[in-house]
Structures are given as structure tokens and as C-alpha cells.
């Protein structure tokens, strides 16, 4: 079944009439996602690829029964879009938008602590895809994925595509692949999603893709050691990144000696997790390590 989405997932697109919104709504529909509504304030009554557009999330939910949202609105308005979705009762929110100020995201996280049943994926992420239920809430190319039993959690976008595709070529399908985003403060972290994969009968193993910056990988390593009994293969990007330089993602920076790839790889290995070093052969490595 995979995690987060299922056959009952009815997707709403916030920012559906923008350039990105239109393009990816078309792609999500083509993949088989049940996109049932879109929201752009002031554009109610329009349609995008046959999907009705509403002024507010509240209207969209009432009229279409949407229960998950993917957000494409510009950075200055993205947090407001999250608040609106939560307030309208949406329980799964995927925020693709990049470049949201860190202090704004802190407020979002604090707000979400009052809504423990809401899951936010992102910001600044490629979204998620669940091939077994043909549901894509994001911007990844659908055709490189195939249904199966491997879960993928990644801080990256295109690097995740690379890995998902290699899994597919190695004959390993995926249950759910989630890009948690490259910002300093993600809506969901590795541990939040590992907990869900733990309880998902169809997921046999997890590939974890980390990168320099912060300590999320170290924390996940410790949690896996204590709580997770499925095989995990990890990959960490940025072994050659210099300290003090932001490598594209807001969160990808080694500062004050913290957040190095070495520290993460060491913590993962110490927790008994296999750390793959060669990205070019990652698919095969996962196959061998997990014995699948």
C-alpha cells in the first residue's frame, strides 16, 4: 500500500492556474492521480485540464471532497497556503515551493504542533509518488518509477529521481518515494516518515538519501538503531563540498564543523546501516544489501 496516500486520496492543487500549477496538474493527471480540485483566489469557475478551480480551499473541500493538497504558490504566499489548507481540514500537504524564509517556516512548524494529525511534506521539495496506487503529488517524472516494495526518503529532488530510476532498472519497484526537501526546517523529517514505513506491511526496505548540513541523518541513524527492523541503505551527497558554502539548498551547508558528510556516514554506519558510496551503482547495491 505504501504510506501517506492510497486509493482514496483526492488531490487539490493550490496555485493551479500558475505556469507550474498547470504543467504539473497535467502531469499528475496523466500519471493517474485523482486531482479533483484547484484553488486560485479570484479564479473560481475556471477549469484546468477539466479540473474545477475554486476561490478558497474550504470551497474546494466542500464541493469535491479533496483530502490532500499540493502547493505551487510563490514563496511569499506559500505559508499562508499551508495555513489555509490546515484550517480547511486537509491532512496531507505537499509544498513544492522553494525559497520560503526560515523564520516563516518556524511559525508553520509551531502552528502544526497544534495539529498533530496533519502531515506537511516540504518545503522546497519534489513531492511524493506512490506507484502502487498511481498517485503522484509532485513534480518528479512518473515514468521512471515502478510499483514495488522499496520506500525512498530524500532531502533532494533530481538526486531522488536518479536513485528511483536506478531502483527501477535494478528490478526494484517502489512503495512510496518522498522528497522531504532541502530547507533548514522541513515539514517532515526522516524519522517522521520512517515511523510510517515501519508500520507499512508492503514496504520491505528503505533507501535514505541525505546530504550535508544539519543533523537530521545522525538523529535518524540513532532512531533506526533503536526502532527500525527493516533493511536501510543510505546515501549522503556532498562529501566534496567545502565548509561554509551553501550548496544550492538552504539547508546544505557545513557550518561550525557541523553537518559534514563524514559525520553523517559515520553515525549511519555506527547504527548498522549500509552506506553506499558509489551513486552510479546504487540500484545494484540496494538489491544486494537487501537480498531482494
Amino acid at each position: 500500500m505504501g504510506i501517506l496516500v492510497n486509493n482514496e486520496t483526492r488531490v487539490l492543487v493550490q496555485g493551479i492556474t500558475g505556469r507550474e500549477g498547470v504543467f504539473h496538474t497535467t502531469q499528475m493527471l496523466a500519471y493517474g492521480t485523482k486531482v479533483v480540485a484547484g484553488v486560485t483566489p479570484g479564479k473560481a469557475g475556471q477549469q484546468v485540464e477539466g479540473v474545477p478551480v475554486f476561490n478558497t480551499v474550504e470551497d474546494a473541500v466542500r464541493e469535491t471532497g479533496a483530502n490532500a493538497s499540493v502547493i505551487f504558490v510563490p514563496a511569499a504566499f506559500a505559508c499562508d497556503a499551508i495555513y489555509e489548507a490546515v484550517s480547511a481540514g486537509i491532512k496531507l500537504i505537499v509544498c513544492i515551493t522553494e525559497g520560503i524564509p526560515t523564520l516563516d517556516m518556524m511559525k508553520v512548524k509551531r502552528f502544526l504542533s497544534n495539529h498533530p494529525d496533519v502531515v506537511v511534506i516540504g518545503l522546497n521539495c519534489p513531492g511524493l509518488i506512490a506507484p502502487p496506487v498511481k498517485c503522484k503529488m509532485g513534480i518528479m517524472p512518473g515514468h521512471i518509477h515502478t510499483p514495488g516494495t522499496i520506500g525512498v526518503i530524500s532531502r533532494s529532488g533530481t538526486l531522488t529521481y536518479e536513485i528511483d530510476y536506478q531502483l527501477t532498472l535494478a528490478g526494484l519497484g517502489q512503495s512510496t518515494c518522498i522528497g522531504i526537501g532541502g530547507d533548514q526546517i522541513p515539514g517532515s523529517n526522516f524519522i517522521d516518515l520512517l515511523k510510517m514505513f515501519k508500520d507499512d506491511d508492503e514496504t520491505q526496505g528503505v533507501v535514505m538519501v541525505g546530504e550535508i548540513g544539519g543533523t537530521a541523518e545522525e538523529e535518524a541513524a540513532e532512531w533506526i538503531k533503536q526502532n527500525f527492523n527493516k533493511p536501510v541503505v543510505a546515501f549522503i551527497a556532498g562529501r566534496t563540498a567545502p565548509p561554509g558554502k551553501r550548496m544550492g539548498h538552504a539547508g546544505a551547508i557545513i557550518s561550525g564543523g557541523q553537518g559534514t558528510a563524514e559525520s553523517k556516514m559515520e553515525a549511519l554506519r555506527a547504527a548498522g546501516i549500509y552506506v553506499a558510496e558509489d551513486l552510479g551503482t546504487l540500484g545494484q547495491t540496494v538489491k544486494e544489501v537487501m537480498g531482494l
Partner: protein, 382 residues
């Protein structure tokens, strides 16, 4: 984004954090007027973004006008090498001259984003003057922290708690902590540091150094902060790239890379290293790159004379392979390409992209997948 000490002090003053009186100087001739205004002694401070200026000779006390002139003369136009600048150092183009202060005690005050706690944290230490990384390693018990709630802000009891730890006047310290927090939040800082904050002989708190970094993602709502950017402090290629919204970081190797996505770009650098070569740069052209941005990125890579090979690694998602191919072909027409180009394309519209490159008449080496590309890098370089 980083700013100079004198710019940070201007903001400090505006928010009510006490700083010494001072003036910015770019020519030795200006020193006399400034010294006459401030009185002696003065402190002459080289204005570069890198830390560690004090130990490197970039901060000096002058007791006479002649000394002040001499020190300024020795700094202006010359490189200052600190442990953060790299071997060649950074050219000093401005010095900040400020009134000297009689120091009784030195403290550390800093505010950073705590990623694990998901909030800003105010940190103080009685061990002023030491770098915080050093302090955290050697005397972590001397660092005191208070998390700042994103909705409540810094609370009075937290100010009192920290002031007691430092043994300083509650009212003065409280006012300063509040002002620093307000500045941090209102201007979307990512780091604010006063190191050292001093207690003067006459019992006042004074910020004699100031460091502010700002959240790049929030600059859109702070045009005043954006204006403080000093392009002289940036690598010229990195600055050029930023104009086109390209994420470029210059490195020391000879394999230039162009990749879509930061994670894949970092991983591509690692692949090059694993193959036995060294990356010349990090370049993420992003998901919404158009042909012109690709062309600009291509030019930037080529203007690094160390580059002996360009490796283009694209996994098409939002950025389609045909758009990438078009950009590369256009750029190759505009710029004289004197090095081999290795291309590896995958993902959205990959067939179109590959065809366009094949039909362009330009001489590309094709990598089938990452492993194949890695072995071709070695082949080409040897």
C-alpha cells in the same frame, strides 16, 4: 548574505544596541578628520567579510594620529589573510575607525537558527573574544542558551536568566537582548553575533564587534538589506552567476559541472572525486532554468581557466532535456569551447534532448549513465 561589520553596526545603532562611535574610511587622507572627530585612541578595523581579523592583524589600536594613518595605509588595498579567507586573502578596500574603549570584561553574545529545535536560539558566554566553535569544543559549560519561541519572542525571564549568568546589569542587558532579537526577527537574520560585547570601565555594555548574516530566501522583503551587498567580497564568478539565479560555487579542481538540482550536483561532485578527478565547481541550474540561463552557466564554467572538461549531468524533471540541449547548443555557438564536453541526459524528454545534441554538429561525448560518465571523465583527462 553577509555584510560588513560597519553595516551591522549601523543596524545595531538603529535598533538601540550600543556601539562605539566610528567612521568608514576608504583613503588615508580621510583619517585625520575622523581622528579629530572621534578623539584618541582609536581602533582601526579592516572591513572584510571573513572572520579571524583580529589575530591576522586586521584590528589595531592607534594612540596617535600618525599611528592611525600608518595602520590605515598598511591595510588599504592590501590582502588580509585570516583562517577564513584562504591563502590569497581578501583585499581590504575599507577600514572602520572607531573610538577606543576601556575594557573591563568581555562576553560573547550570539543568535543562530537551531535547526533541531526549529527556532532561533540566543547564546551568551562570559568567555568573550573566543570563537564560539572553539568555545563549544573546549568549554561548552560556559555557553548559556535560551530558545526563542517564534510567536512569543524573547521573554523577560529569559533575559534575566542570561544576564545573571553573565553577571551584568539586568536592565541594560535585557534591553540589548530584546533589541538584538527584534533585529534578528524583523530583518530575517540567519546569524547575529556580538563578539565581544564588553563591559566598559565606567559600567556600560558596548558592542565592539558586530556580525550579521541574512536569510537569502527572505531578501525579497528587505530591499534595504539587499542594498548592503558588497560585490567585491564575492567571488566574481559566483556574483556573475547569482545575477542569473544560478547556484554556482567555485572549487579548486578541473572538471566543470552543470547539473539540475543541488543534491544531484553535490553527488556529481562526489562521483568525479570517486573517479579520481576533482570538481572545478558546483553549479545547480535549478528546475526552472531556460535556455538563456543554461547558456550563461556554460559561459561561467568556461571562464574558469582551470577547467579542462565540462560534465553536464541532467536528470530531467521540471527542467526538460530538450530545453537543456537547446541552451547548451546556443551557448556553444556564442562561446569558443576549447575543452571536451561530456553529456549525460536522463528523464523528461530525454530522446529529444539527445537527438538535438547529436544533430548539432558539435562534438559532445555521451555518457550512457553515471558509471559510464565517470569512466569517460578519467579517459578524457588522461
Amino acid at each position: 548574505m553577509k555584510v560588513h561589520e560597519y553595516q551591522a553596526k549601523e543596524l545595531f545603532a538603529r535598533y538601540g544596541i550600543p556601539v562605539p562611535r566610528g567612521k568608514l574610511v576608504t583613503q588615508v587622507e580621510e583619517v585625520e578628520g575622523v581622528v579629530n572627530e572621534l578623539g584618541l585612541p582609536v581602533v582601526v578595523k579592516a572591513q572584510i567579510h571573513a572572520g579571524g581579523r583580529g589575530k591576522a592583524g586586521g584590528v589595531k589600536l592607534a594612540k596617535t594620529l600618525d599611528e592611525a594613518r600608518q595602520i590605515t595605509q598598511n591595510m588599504l588595498g592590501k590582502p588580509l589573510v585570516t583562517h577564513q579567507t584562504g591563502g590569497q586573502g581578501t583585499i581590504v578596500r575599507k577600514v572602520w575607525i572607531e573610538e577606543g574603549a576601556a575594557i573591563k570584561k568581555e562576553f560573547y553574545v550570539g543568535m543562530v537558527i537551531d535547526r533541531a529545535r526549529r527556532c532561533p536560539v540566543l547564546m551568551v558566554s562570559p568567555a568573550g573574544g573566543m570563537e564560539i566553535e572553539e568555545l563549544a569544543k573546549e568549554k561548552p559549560e560556559l555557553i548559556f542558551k535560551e530558545p526563542i519561541d517564534p510567536f512569543l519572542g524573547l521573554l523577560p525571564f529569559q533575559c534575566r536568566s542570561l544576564a545573571f549568568k553573565l553577571g551584568v546589569d539586568l536592565k541594560q542587558a535585557g534591553k540589548m537582548f530584546m533589541a538584538l532579537t527584534r533585529l534578528f526577527v524583523e530583518k530575517d537574520c540567519s546569524l547575529a553575533e556580538i563578539n565581544p560585547l564588553i563591559l566598559t570601565e565606567d559600567g556600560n555594555l558596548l558592542a565592539i564587534d558586530a556580525k550579521l548574516n541574512f536569510d537569502d530566501s527572505a531578501l525579497f522583503r528587505h530591499p534595504d538589506v539587499k542594498e548592503m551587498l558588497d560585490p567585491d567580497e564575492l567571488d566574481p564568478l559566483e556574483y556573475e552567476a547569482s545575477k542569473y539565479h544560478l547556484n554556482y560555487v567555485r572549487l579548486d579542481g578541473n572538471v566543470g559541472i552543470m547539473v539540475n538540482g543541488a543534491g544531484l550536483a553535490m553527488a556529481t561532485m562526489d562521483v568525479i572525486k570517486l573517479a579520481g578527478a576533482e570538481p572545478a565547481n558546483f553549479l545547480d541550474v535549478g528546475g526552472s532554468a531556460n535556455a538563456e540561463m543554461i547558456a550563461q552557466g556554460f559561459k561561467i564554467i568556461l571562464s574558469d581557466p582551470n577547467v579542462k572538461l565540462i560534465f553536464i549531468n541532467i536528470f530531467g524533471g521540471i527542467l526538460r532535456c530538450d530545453v537543456l540541449a537547446q541552451g547548451v547548443i546556443e551557448a556553444a555557438k556564442q562561446v569558443e569551447v576549447s575543452v571536451p564536453i561530456l553529456v549525460r541526459l536522463e528523464g523528461t524528454n530525454v530522446e529529444q534532448g539527445r537527438e538535438m545534441l547529436a544533430d548539432s554538429g558539435l562534438n559532445f561525448v555521451v555518457g550512457k549513465d553515471l558509471s559510464d560518465a565517470a569512466s569517460k571523465i578519467v579517459e578524457i583527462l588522461s
